[in-house]
């Protein structure tokens, strides 16, 4: 295990002139209060006259809504309003979630409360607001909706069949989006290859299970006609914009505040129907309204992700060169594409990423994204990467096995070499600079691979089946406007940061990217302290408030460090320049002769301390009369950064898993997991390690435990934390993490994203380890989650 003291410090050239914090395992700015029970999550906020909303949600997968009887509920104690979709639609417009650059993509108009039909179990239909949550829940029992069950589209395989009902008749069929990609002489290569392997990969739907449920307080103030929304959300400015558009308000009328967020993972970056309904209720009632999803609501209304079935093939020659990949991906997204990011992105990523680490020149992919009557799916941590990686790496292992090559050697031979960048991947993705070869060498050493293989072979003789699995991966981070902006979605890929020297000498940073636990505020404090030249204890970070921070995109696609961090760096370096100018004016010396060190102005030549920052603040704010005529102190500066060099900055890494499979019970024991991660410049090794580990465990959840199970009529069977399995401490292995640092040249900081690669690689690594353990028994499983039952079936034992 890595102790913070053992972690590597700075290994790259510094980016600031007195670098003390960047690159070190600094404890997280502002984290202590979370350990003392002093965080402020949405549910901790109490407002006067606050009402509480609960939603009557569709009890079935597809239904026609008849008459809604609300009289009894309205008369219950404390009830403030009972509102249906027709009434809500008078103030909230419907939306259609498509992106212009996903050619041919379609979806149907969606309302904040369902009108006429509800299309999944859990879709909100009627809102009940009362003075307390308990009163609202009491009244909810008395809502009587006349409804008629309609046939549901449950199986994605049958969604496009002519016998299957069309969910939205106006769309003509149940096809949301389709894409084909064909590069190289794919048919010829498969026909003439020495080795062709194929498999069908299944991926169960899963969901984020943020420990803090989705929640918000909408507070419409009729006096100033202004809406304030306290939200557990990753993208405050995006929500501000959406509230404006759906309710016909202007940006200056809407204020979104995100304080502490209790887990997000992509679950809280989408705009949900009940988000709009809660806002609408506050506008109608002219008082604050709080919505907190209960756990059953979370399971049926938080986005799900990753329901895919993929047929995949790989071609290789006898020398051990990968020649081609081919995939056919079928995925289902629920009845509507999710607003505003759209549900077609996940499948699109799979097409872009399959085969991504390798240097083959032939690739064909087909994607069908279909509608169905289940909870909508959308972007969740890793978005498409875990699927693409598990398919690619599963096929790579099959080819290596058939060629009787060591899987690690096979990967070493086929990855795009470290000296080949920049280059394009076969799907057209632009790769700036990656380090597959170095990562593979590092992991081999870290896990002592030869010794592990020896141990595995010896144990096999005793009837103990252990397996080693690898997953090499690429992950897109630091997105440019090519992700959403070009498609017409108003989601900022740029971020701004303001740096302000306060009179006491403290530096305050205001930035659009907020904190959801990943340590964003901690690394911003590190960057700011180094870039201005001050102790980290004198830095304050202010995020999550659209009235206050520069406009920005928030947290998604692992952009917080690479995009937000760069904005902080640029703003803070500019602030240091202005501080030096002001010091020059105070001291009547050219600023070039001065330098900033640790909160003081020094004589550059002698190192003599001339002025503390507190003096800069005092004169800059209170004694401007002593400054030369026309001199402006400018002790607050704002800089923006947008990554435009590449559509995305790719990171890379490799993971390995060591497992033991019991062939009698199908039980998988995770023994150890290793990860080598290259996220460019490592700003804080401890935080990156924890991002990697947390992400790996979510990936392990996907490959071994987590699945939203539905019955044939589209009803969710496991909507509780007791029934939906997530990894707990006892089942998880120790996870060793190492870093390779290949900075991106697209920014000064050189940081790439680090939040999702762990989730991307773990399912492939664990799947391959299980199949390696099962290999001597001539069995394999490619259907995730890989349960005991599926293993026993593969072994022919059940």
């Amino acid at each position: 295990m890595n102790k913070p003291a053992d972690l590597k410090g700075l290994v790259l050239d510094p980016v600031t002139n007195d670098q003390r914090y960047i690159g070190n395992s600094e404890p997280r700015h502002k984290a202590r209060r979370l350990l003392e029970g002093q965080g402020t999550y949405v549910d901790d906020i109490q407002l006067p006259r606050m009402g509480h909303v609960v939603y009557w949600r569709s009890p079935v997968a597809h239904m026609k809504i008849g008459k809604i009887h609300t009289e009894q509920a309205s008369k219950m104690p404390g009830v403030l309003a009972v509102v249906d979709g027709v009434k809500m639609a008078e103030i909230c417009k419907p939306w259609v979630a498509t992106l212009g650059h996903l050619a041919g993509m379609k979806s149907a108009p969606q309302h904040s409360l369902a009108i006429e039909r509800a299309c999944w179990q859990g879709e909100p239909v009627v809102a009940v607001v009362a003075e307390t949550r308990a009163q609202a829940e009491d009244a909810l029992q008395l809502i009587d909706v006349e409804w008629e069950e309609l046939p549901a589209v449950v199986s994605m395989e049958e969604a496009l069949s002519p016998d299957t009902p069309v969910i939205h008749p106006d769309l003509g069929d149940n096809l949301c989006f389709t894409r084909s990609l064909d590069v190289g002489q794919v048919d010829d290569v498969f026909a003439s290859a020495d080795v062709v392997c194929e498999a069908t990969f299944g991926f169960g739907r899963h969901t984020g299970v943020t420990l803090e449920p989705r929640c918000q307080i909408a507070d419409y103030n009729p006096g100033d006609r202004r809406l304030t929304v306290y939200h557990s959300q990753q993208a405050p400015h995006m929500m501000q914009d959406l509230y404006c558009r759906q309710f016909g308000l202007s940006e200056s009328d809407v204020h979104v505040i995100c304080k502490d967020v209790g887990g997000s993972f992509g679950i809280k970056v989408h705009a949900y129907p009940d988000d709009f309904a809660t806002v609408g209720l506050s506008m109608m009632l002219e008082r604050p309204v709080r919505f907190v999803a209960d756990r059953l609501e979370s399971f049926t209304s938080d986005i799900h992700a990753r329901e895919h079935r993929i047929k995949g093939r790989i071609a290789a020659n006898n020398q051990g060169d990968i020649l081609a990949f081919e995939i056919d991906d079928l995925t289902a997204i629920g009845p509507y594409s999710m607003f505003p990011r759209t549900s077609a992105i996940e499948g699109n990523q799979v097409v872009n990423l399959v085969g991504g680490p390798y240097k083959h020149q032939n690739y064909r992919a087909k994607l069908n994204v279909v509608f169905q009557n289940k909870t909508p799916t959308c972007q969740y941590r890793g978005v498409g990467h875990p699927i693409a990686c598990a398919v690619t790496e599963g096929l790579v292992d099959l080819a290596a096995q058939k060629l009787k090559m060591d899987p690690l050697e096979f990967r070493k031979r086929n990855v795009i070499p470290d000296d080949a960048y920049p280059c394009s991947g076969i799907s057209g993705i632009k790769l700036e600079v990656l380090s597959h070869e170095q990562c593979l060498r590092t992991i081999e050493k870290m896990m002592d691979y030869p010794a592990l293989r020896k141990e595995q072979a010896e144990l096999r003789k005793k009837g103990i089946y252990r397996g080693i699995g690898f997953a090499t991966l690429i992950e897109l981070t630091n997105p440019s406007p090519a992700f959403y902006g070009v498609g017409g979605a108003r989601i900022a890929s740029q971020d701004g940061a303001s740096a302000r020297l306060d009179p006491s000498g403290v530096v305050s940073i205001l930035i659009g990217v907020g904190e959801q636990g990943q340590g964003t505020e901690g690394i911003y404090a590190q960057i700011a302290a180094d870039a201005v030249g001050i102790s980290i204890k004198d830095v304050r970070i202010i995020t999550g408030d659209t009235d206050v921070t520069p406009y920005g995109g928030g947290t998604w696609a692992s952009r917080g460090a690479g995009v937000g961090g760069e904005a902080v760096l640029l703003a803070c370096q500019a602030l240091q320049e202005n501080i030096l100018k002001l010091a020059g004016a105070i001291l009547t010396r050219p600023p070039e002769e001065l330098v900033v060190r640790r909160g003081h102005i020094l004589d550059k030549a002698t190192g003599e301390q001339l002025l503390p920052f507190s003096e800069i603040g005092r004169i800059g704010y209170f004694r401007t009369d002593t400054l030369p005529a026309g001199f402006s102190a400018d002790l607050m500066v704002t800089r923006h950064y947008t990554q435009k060099e590449y559509p995305f900055i790719f990171t890379n890494g490799v993971q390995a898993s060591y497992v033991e499979v019991d062939p009698d019970t199908g039980f998988v024991k995770l023994l150890k997991h290793w990860a080598v991660e290259d996220c460019g410049r490592v700003l804080n090794p401890m935080l990156v390690d924890e991002q990697v580990r947390g992400a790996i465990v979510q990936g392990i959840g996907g490959v071994l435990f987590e699945e939203c199970l539905y019955d044939d009529s589209g009803l969710l069977r496991n909507g509780s934390m007791a029934d939906y399995l997530v990894p707990m401490a006892n089942e998880m292995p120790d996870i060793e993490v190492a870093h390779v640092e290949t900075p991106t040249q697209s920014s000064k900081l050189g940081a790439k994203g680090a939040g999702e690669a762990g989730t991307a690689g773990a399912p492939g690594a664990v799947q391959n380890a299980i199949n390696d353990a099962l290999a001597p028994l001539n069995a394999s499983v490619f259907d995730q989650p890989i349960t005991c039952e599926k293993i026993l079936k593969a072994l022919g034992r059940v």
Binding site: L35, E36, L687, M728, A729
Partner: protein
Amino acid sequence: MSLKKKITMTVNGLTVNAEIEPRRHLVDFLREDLHLKGPHLGCEQGACGACTVKVDGQIIRGCLYLAVQADGCEVETIEGLTKNGTLADLQESFMRRNAMQCGFCSSGMLLAAAELVEQRPHASREEVREWISGNYCRCTGYHSIVDAIVDVLEARAKGEKIKPVVAHA
């Protein structure tokens, strides 16, 4: 549901008198009536452990425990245990290891860890993993939490203190 019952309990050392509905969960009472922010609600069915508090010295699930059951009892939450220093070395250790990310599980996790440190001072790494398996953490992957608890066990065994890290406001 207007039937109310009078209760008296000690919460973090202070006497609390209240008149509440018998159906009110202890954690709802602590959060909504006493405005304590430490115990959190994650699942309301005893699965996640975010609502963990202490009643008469034992940790319980605040969402499965009615407030009227705590009538006459001594209730302690993360706020009180922070103030009286009970959790100081664990909190220090969690800071050093970044054994929290979003912090939503942290109150419950720390209370579970404190009971382990108290009752199983010689617990192995595996036993630590097993002990905290009643508490969800969706962010950390548990590794850093296990590290942090093991550090405290080792330090206490040697009679040492966890070296404080500088915390910034």
